[in-house]
Point group: C2
Chain length 293, copies 2
């Protein structure tokens, strides 16, 4: 594909793993000449300046921070997007393209529609599938999006040139772009991302609050390590995601409870054949998935 | 510590990841001159012979296979241990030390007591904490037990020389040995190993059997990969373990159901503060554990 038009200036709101890594790569590829970072956390801004993730820093959204921005990236926890859009509505220039990178997309589009209705053609909802249990500007890294999936959820009123430009920027940093509706997106990620995070938190809490919890942790090994890795994820980010996508998540939690009830019955009955079929079905499905990665 | 007395001859019943890796290391350290392998699977025996995991092969337990064995290692799925002990009772020589390496220890000791009562002083229940989702003779590897924990569950009638010899063998292949009661062992491993395996199987089955399952798998990423790794574990091995330890596991499954019910309530109420405390408690506990590994 053609090289995307260089983005002369970027404003990054929320200087963390995702936004920080994206602008590092865009600079490295020559697609950004300067990045203005906006973050509530002064220490985080200092680190981002030191590591040259950003070139100027502000602790709140104002005219100076967004003037001249070709691209404004909102990479704050998803629950803050409505307030960010409301604040941007009075300062955003007409030519600036706005993207978010959050894990819930129906809520992102609602925020665009409610607070930036006149800017809607230039608001693009994106979601890079490149999570980590690490967070903050220090977690920003080159190449985070290489060979990762990037989902764009069109709301139907996008300016096509802006949409394609955003898509080309993500492809330039190595991502494979996919289009899907925000509803479909939120259903899929409730299942493959939000639910396992919640289940990992639930499992760790069960162990941690058990009277024998300390002995349990003493003998936990590699299976435990991998199963619980995502329970080290940033709590505030995940509270936001879970609440923004709570209907999908509640349905899935109910489905998980049904699975556990089924398992308990098989165990109580000592039904080795049923347990074998159940475990084997899961192993086959997981192995088939892993073989394609 | 002193070097353990060389084990001139070993009989390994069940030539897989755990038993195969143990004898590979014992040979490498000069502690075994020959290993007789017994396994139901002829292909598996062929591979074990090719890779010099074993030096002779039998497809069933008989006098020839165990005659002259200084050490007999039972490394078959845990539910088979009673039948293995029953068969050994007519062929095992008085001087042979017998160990098992299974993941449930109350059931192991019951099998020793029931089928080998006269041999009990020379029966030692051990459990190396070195799992993998891989299995079979081809999965056997050098150094699997280096810096891993090895638990011995005394039944109280061990010959102390045999007990210390077995302990020294495991230490020689790199393991750190711990002693605890079989009851305590089974409670701990139900919590940190058996429960997460069952939860991983349950989660993968929920996704795999969902009408949108294929789309889910298409967008599953690194969090999913780690959370579900143990669902690729051998189904028959885990059916056995779960049934042998079903009382502990059922109590823990019930505890997990209570965690999920609590989470669903917090989500329904949109209680961000409670969710934050819940997620943060899990993160703190998991981070504290990880910092010690």
């Amino acid at each position: 594909m053609n090289n995307p038009t260089p983005s002369k200036r970027i404003t990054l709101i929320g200087v963390g793993l995702i936004g920080g890594s994206f602008v590092l790569d865009l600079k490295h590829k020559g697609l950004a000449t300067s990045v203005v970072g906006i973050d509530l956390n002064h220490d985080n801004l200092e680190r981002a300046l030191e590591r040259k993730v950003i070139d100027a820093a502000f602790d709140h959204i104002n005219t100076e921070a967004v003037t001249g921005a070709d691209l404004v990236i909102v990479a704050t926890p998803v629950s803050t997007l409505p307030a960010v859009c409301r604040q941007l509505s009075t300062v955003l220039e007409n030519h600036s393209v706005l993207i978010d990178v959050g894990s819930t997309k129906q809520s992102a589009i609602h925020a665009f529609q409610k607070y930036l209705p006149h800017h809607l053609p230039y608001c693009i909802a994106t979601h890079p599938i490149a999570g980590s249990d690490r967070s903050g500007a220090l977690a920003a890294q080159f190449g985070l999006f290489q060979d990762k999936k990037l989902i764009i959820c069109p709301h139907g009123q996008e300016d096509s040139e802006s949409l394609n430009w955003v898509s080309s920027l993500w492809q330039t940093v190595g991502a494979q772009t996919y289009l899907m509706s925000a509803t479909e997106h939120d259903g899929i990620f409730a299942a493959v991302s939000h639910l396992p995070h919640v289940l990992a938190y639930a499992y760790v809490n069960q162990i941690a609050t058990h009277p024998n919890g300390q002995a349990y942790f003493d003998f936990a090994a590699s299976g435990f390590r991998d199963f619980t890795r995502i329970a080290s994820s940033h709590p505030a980010i995940w509270v936001d995601i879970c609440l923004e996508n709570k209907n999908s998540l509640l349905a899935l939690l109910s489905g998980q409870q049904a699975q556990l009830a089924q398992l308990a019955t098989m165990l109580k009955n000592g039904d080795a054949d049923a347990l074998y079929r159940y475990f084997d079905q899961a192993k086959q499905a997981r192995d088939a998935w892993a073989a394609l990665q």
